[in-house]
Structures are given as structure tokens and as C-alpha cells.
């Protein structure tokens, strides 16, 4: 069996949804499903418009298959502090992303976990900062409402 898990989830639970992809995500990828594979990085290209990674995935049978992973644009990733060295050739990663409609060995990046347990999440920092501001605004509103009672 391939080391692949398919999880059907609602797109909105992804947090940063497919709207992030302004280069026509939906004709290629299924935003309602995710797929997870574990493998070794053979290439990481930090390029525009979208960064790319190749991953060798060893099946239980011992057969090695190559997966490719497409990321947000280099411009997006730079905003989140990524650079050419964020992912290194030879690293072992577990990667989760949206699969293609055709089921080919290709995905759009959502999240990765390294051997040491550290993670990288698509758009994570920005959404956290926006949620923090929203939380502060909500608390201020509640204080004002309480004060007016």
C-alpha cells in the first residue's frame, strides 16, 4: 500500500483557502480534499510564479515514485520568511496538500512536517496575526458593551 492518506475535508476548514491561488488553482487541484505523502526531497526550486518541490516516496513494496509539490508564489513565501534554503535536498518530509482532479502524483502545498516535528503551514503567520487583531477588536467591543450596561 502506498504511504498515502486521503482525507476529505470542507474547504473552508483549510483556513487559507484556494482564493490564495490567483493562478487558476481550481482547474488543476481539488480544494475539497487533501492527500499526505512522506518522502525525501530531491529538488526545491524557489521560483516565480510558484515554488516547486520534487519528493521521492518509497512505497511499501520498495518501489520509489516521484511526487511533485507546487507552492504559493515565491512572492507569497517571501512574505512568510521563506527562502531558497527553507527546504533542503535530502530532507525527509511529510507533506499534505490538495491532490489533482486526475489523481496524478502532484499536489498543492498545505503543510509539511520535518523529522524533528517542526512544521511549515501555508499562510499560517498572516492568518494568526489577523486573528489576533480580530480578537483584540472583539474584546474591545465587549468591554464597551459591558461598560454601557
Amino acid at each position: 500500500m502506498m504511504p498515502v492518506r486521503e482525507i476529505v475535508i470542507v474547504a473552508t476548514l483549510l483556513g487559507v483557502g484556494t482564493a490564495m491561488a490567483h493562478h487558476s488553482f481550481s482547474p488543476v487541484y481539488d480544494g475539497n480534499r487533501t492527500v499526505t505523502v512522506a518522502g525525501v526531497v530531491t529538488e526545491f526550486r524557489f521560483v516565480n510564479p510558484h515554488a516547486q518541490m520534487a519528493l521521492d516516496v518509497t512505497e511499501d513494496s520498495g518501489r520509489v515514485t516521484q511526487w511533485s509539490v507546487e507552492f504559493d508564489g515565491r512572492l507569497n513565501l517571501t512574505n512568510h520568511g521563506w527562502n531558497e534554503d527553507t527546504i533542503k535536498v535530502g530532507e525527509r518530509l511529510t507533506v499534505t496538500g490538495n491532490p489533482t482532479h486526475t489523481g496524478s502524483q502532484h499536489m498543492f502545498f498545505n503543510r509539511l512536517e520535518r523529522s524533528d516535528g517542526s512544521t511549515l503551514v501555508r499562510g499560517g503567520d498572516r492568518i494568526e496575526s489577523i486573528e489576533d487583531e480580530r480578537r483584540r477588536r472583539r474584546e474591545e467591543r465587549r468591554r464597551q458593551t459591558d461598560g454601557s450596561l
Binding site: A11, T12, L13, G15, V16, G17, T18, A19, H22, H23, S24, F25, S26, P27, V28, D30, G31, N32, R45, V47, N48, P49, H50, Q52, G73, R74, L75, N76, T78, N79, T100, H101, T102, S104, H106, R126, I127, S129, I130, E131, E133, R134, R137, R138, R141
Partner: protein
């Protein structure tokens, strides 16, 4: 950082007596030069591609309603973006403009052929915008597609036979703290007649080569935000001119990298347009 008004001493010395007091060459001008990138704040993020007063007002209503406190922020943004599309953009389309809605993302030439965006999409493009002020022009470089654009400040006339082009012909001047840019000669292309960043289609519909734009770029008092207010006018696609906004944040640490690895898709499906 506070906005700085720059008076170019060399310009003043060069034209001391020839009555250019009202020309662009001798005006005080706001310091807009530098690198800007995607906005970060709760409201500004909503304007990552573009937004409108109607959309921002709806967003604030939703954020102030306790019933929405536990909703994912992306849902809230999507509702506000859908509102601005349905209540502001689409009602303003002419019959001809409305007939162009429904772009299949698989048919977007940027996706299919790696064709760079035209003016009406590029001015709302996400990511970096580098702005460089010169005496006679402003140079803009967009991170998306690395499209360069020149805004002439010398009042030149476009050539009588100037053909419409992807980014058009832009003339600018300063009004106080604001760079005002008027653009004509824009070739017919895909348009931003949708709800912006958080709707199914960021862009949808088409404009004609009658499109005219007035952009107003202003930097916030603390220097941290560049705000674009733009009015688009196209009698073929729009009943009335529409007003849109966009925000960038100051990002001097960022660079614009080459945009040379666009590849035409090898596998895709038509008719799939997920939210």
C-alpha cells in the same frame, strides 16, 4: 516612519526664472519611492487585491456583529466580498459587460499561456510594488509578472496613432500628498468585475479598449501603508464609473525576483470553479 515631503534642490536651481511654479518640476511632492508589499492588518488584508467602500462597510458590520465572532475569518471576508460583488460591481455592469461574466479559470490566458495580466488586473496584483520617483516620470515595477510601467509627469501628449496596449499610456501629476495618474489607450482585456480576493473568481468579465482609469496613490502619515483609490470608467462595460481601493504595506526588506518560471499547465479540467 513619517511621510516626507521632498523638495528637489537641483530642480529649483535649474529652473529659477522660467515660470515653472505650477509645473511638476517645481512642485513639492510626497515621498512615495520604495518597496511595498501585501497588507497585513484585519481590514487591509481584505483589500489584498481590491476592495470597495461597500465591501469594507459590510466587513465592519460583520466584524461588529457578535453572531460572527466564532466564524472563520475567511468566511467573513468571503461574505463581505460577495456583498461587494453582488451589490456594487455587478449591478453597475451594462448588458454587454454582464454578458462577459463567468470566466472559466481554465480559460484564463495567464494560466493557459503564461500571458501577463493587462492593466485592469495588474494594478490590483498582489505582492510587491516598487515605486521610483524621477523628475519627469514615476517608474513602477510589479512583483506579479515583473511588469514595468512608466507614468509620465511632463504632460506629454500620446502619439496620435498610439495603439491600445496591455498597460496603456499613463500621465501623472501630484496633488498635495497624492500622485494622480490618468491612463488611457488600454487594450480590451479581462477585468476586475468580481468581488476581489475572497470570491470564487478574483477577476471576472471583460472591459473594452474604452477603459480609462484615474489612480490616486497616497502614503499614510506613518509611512507604513500605500493606499490606491482608483476610478475605472468604461461606457461599454459599466453604467457608471466604479471606485475601487487597494492597500500595500511598506516592505523595504523585500526584493522583486525574476518571474521566469511560468509553465503552461499539462493537466487541468474545465468547468471546475471551487470557492
Amino acid at each position: 516612519m513619517n511621510r516626507v515631503i521632498v523638495r528637489r534642490a537641483s530642480q529649483m536651481a535649474a529652473f529659477p526664472l522660467i515660470g515653472l511654479a505650477t509645473s511638476a518640476f517645481s512642485q513639492d511632492r510626497p515621498d512615495l519611492t520604495g518597496m511595498y508589499s501585501d497588507p497585513q492588518g484585519l481590514e487591509d488584508f481584505f483589500c489584498s487585491f481590491w476592495c470597495s467602500d461597500a465591501g469594507l462597510e459590510r466587513l465592519n458590520e460583520l466584524l461588529d456583529d457578535p453572531a460572527n465572532d466564532e466564524r472563520p475569518i475567511m468566511d467573513v471576508y468571503a461574505e463581505a466580498a460577495t456583498f461587494q460583488r453582488d451589490e456594487y460591481m455587478h449591478p453597475n455592469l451594462t448588458e454587454a459587460g454582464a454578458a462577459t461574466l463567468g470566466l472559466d479559470p481554465a480559460d484564463d490566458p495567464g494560466f493557459l499561456y503564461c500571458e501577463p495580466w493587462g492593466f485592469a488586473r495588474e494594478i490590483f496584483a498582489p505582492h510587491q510594488l516598487s515605486l521610483e520617483q524621477h523628475d519627469d516620470r514615476v517608474e513602477m515595477l510589479y512583483g506579479e509578472w515583473t511588469i514595468r510601467r512608466t507614468i509620465w509627469l511632463d504632460g506629454r501628449e500620446p502619439a496620435a496613432d498610439l495603439a491600445p496596449s496591455s498597460m496603456g499610456f499613463s500621465l501623472g501629476h501630484y496633488e498635495g500628498d497624492t500622485l494622480v495618474v490618468e491612463t488611457t489607450h488600454i487594450g480590451a482585456n479581462l477585468a476586475p468585475w468580481d468581488g476581489g480576493f475572497f470570491t470564487t473568481n478574483v477577476f471576472d468579465g471583460r472591459h473594452s479598449d474604452s477603459l480609462r482609469a484615474v489612480e490616486r496613490y497616497t502614503r499614510s502619515a506613518d509611512g507604513q501603508r500605500l493606499i490606491l483609490d482608483v476610478t475605472l470608467e468604461d461606457p461599454w462595460a459599466l453604467r457608471e464609473p466604479i471606485a475601487m481601493k487597494k492597500v500595500w504595506h511598506w516592505a523595504p526588506e523585500q526584493e522583486i525576483a525574476p518571474y521566469e518560471d511560468c509553465e503552461r499547465p499539462t493537466e487541468f479540467s474545465r468547468g471546475v470553479n471551487q470557492p
